[in-house]
């Protein structure tokens, strides 16, 4: 069984609870063991790197040192924002001078021996698609999905080293494997407005509005994402976006782990569909029941 150290990220404890629970449930079902990093702390998210790169790296490196203390070299996180911070810290610490500055801020120095990946990458690269296919009990036949990766899961490619930086396919392939119809989505890696929802809501309305508009254009019943902030901007703020743009979008926005869990027949309680703001039944209702799907 594959074991990885698990970094849930702060939003997994609050606004994206359902991403955390569904991630844990699908990993368990697919024999990937997520070992919680003891007493993990916040990676600093984007505010830290906009203040100082050494500070930002130190907030990440404290966690990487905790992984080292577990005797592990591979970590995984569901959140692309955490992923970027952890990977960027490692990347910059390849420079010994930078690493020394980081370690000067820490109680326990970081050796920089951990490779952090997204949970999506772990699943895409380590779980045999045939195994997943064999475990599908409720195929997603009948639903049209736009896969949205967000801006930083694959960029810049020198740091992120996963999938393609302009046209990533990992979620597309997974959703297709589960039986969904994946529609080509041109804005896969465009930015949703990041964490400007509070200080500059107008930015999120414009950028996330474009994403919703494009997904409607391509005829998607739902958007699937791997990022808590993207999900929140597109789902929780969909009403605000409608008000700002005089639109009437009603597009459910799922975490890919929720639909994967649905197809695998995982207990609904762990998937948290009721936490979504735009009624997910608008899209789940499109899925044909197995007997009809013949």
């Amino acid at each position: 069984m594959l074991k990885v150290a698990y970094y849930p990220g702060c939003s997994g404890q609050g606004t994206s609870l359902e991403y955390d629970t569904s991630t844990r449930a699908v990993c368990k079902a697919l024999d990937v063991e997520l070992m919680d990093i003891p007493d993990w702390s916040c990676c600093g998210s984007s505010p830290a790197h906009t203040v100082n790169h050494v500070l930002s790296a130190a907030l990440s490196a404290r966690n990487l040192a905790q992984v080292e203390a577990m005797g592990m070299t591979k970590a995984a996180t569901p959140c692309p924002s955490c992923l970027t911070n952890l990977r960027t810290a490692s990347h910059k610490m390849d420079d010994p001078e930078f690493k020394d500055k980081v370690n000067a801020l820490l109680d326990v120095p970081c050796k920089n021996s951990v490779d952090t990946q997204s949970v999506l990458q772990v699943l895409a690269e380590n779980v045999d698609p045939e195994l997943i296919k064999g475990k599908v009990v409720k195929p997603l036949t009948g639903i049209k999905i736009a896969c949205y990766y967000g801006c930083i899961m694959n960029r810049p490619p020198e740091v992120m080293r996963f999938d393609h930086h302009e046209n990533p396919m990992a979620m597309d392939n997974l959703m297709a494997l589960l039986g969904a119809e994946v529609v080509p989505f041109p804005l896969k890696v465009e930015c949703c407005g990041a964490s400007y929802g509070i200080p500059r809501g107008d930015i999120v309305a414009t950028l996330s509005g474009k994403l919703l508009d494009a997904s409607r254009d391509v005829g998607a019943d739902a958007i699937v994402t791997a990022c808590p902030l993207c999900q929140m901007n597109l789902d929780l703020r969909q009403g605000q976006i409608n008000d700002a743009l005089r639109e009437n979008f009603r597009i459910p926005v799922f975490y890919y782990t929720q639909l994967l869990g649905y197809a695998l027949g995982i207990d609904r309680a762990e998937l948290g569909f009721e936490k979504l703001c735009v009624d997910p039944r608008l899209a789940l209702g499109r899925i044909k029941q197995p007997q009809q799907a013949m």
Binding site: S41, C42, P156, Q240, K275
Partner: protein, 186 residues
């Protein structure tokens, strides 16, 4: 159109941006690729390629005062698409660091939001969303612009009312303390 006097070039500023970003800004030949892919141009006062040009020509004042460096979403499109492999997003970040250090806050709400976020991390070891919003409102003197979202968020149990402080929160607080002592040379 604004006119900049190239004779005003502040060489020390150019050197500092280059040293702190580990990028050679002279390599920019103004192709405009970064601007073409930048989703934030619509709220910028200078486009990202203009920022690169202003850095190249040492226009310290214009850079440190500008709005764009506070609004960059760090989406990495510019860095990914620059034909000269300049880490443009890192240059944007470094300009914002320098503006902060010199006391600028041209896009005040963005700065306050970042400060509130980091204060929450320093205090609890993790970001505590409700506390962070309260602190943001106090500091910015703004009423909560997201009141309309409150029922949805609370009904769905998405925001814990209490922070989950971690055991190692002193370790995290010490990261911040040491950073402040070391200043920009941390």
């Amino acid at each position: 159109m604004q006119i900049f006097n190239l004779a005003d070039a502040d060489q020390g500023f150019i050197d500092e941006v280059e040293a702190r970003s580990h990028q050679n800004v002279k390599n920019c030949y103004q192709c405009g690729n970064c601007t073409a892919g930048c989703p934030y141009t619509f709220v910028y006062d200078y486009s990202v390629s203009q920022i690169m040009r202003l850095v190249q020509t040492g226009q310290k004042d214009a850079i440190l005062k500008c709005r764009s460096i506070w609004l960059c979403g760090s989406c990495q499109s510019c860095t990914t698409r620059c034909p000269n492999k300049i880490d443009v997003a890192r240059v944007m970040d470094v300009c914002r660091h320098m503006a902060r250090e010199e006391g600028y806050a041209t896009e005040r709400s963005v700065k306050i939001f970042a400060d509130s976020f980091l204060e929450s991390v320093e205090r609890h070891g993790r970001a505590y969303e409700l506390g962070l919003m309260a602190s943001y409102m106090t500091r910015s003197g703004r009423v909560f612009t997201d009141v309309d979202l409150a029922p949805q968020v609370l009904m769905r149990g998405k925001l814990p009312f209490k922070p989950h402080p971690i055991q190692g929160r002193e370790q995290v607080a010490r990261i911040f303390e040491r950073f402040r002592k070391g200043g920009k040379n941390a």
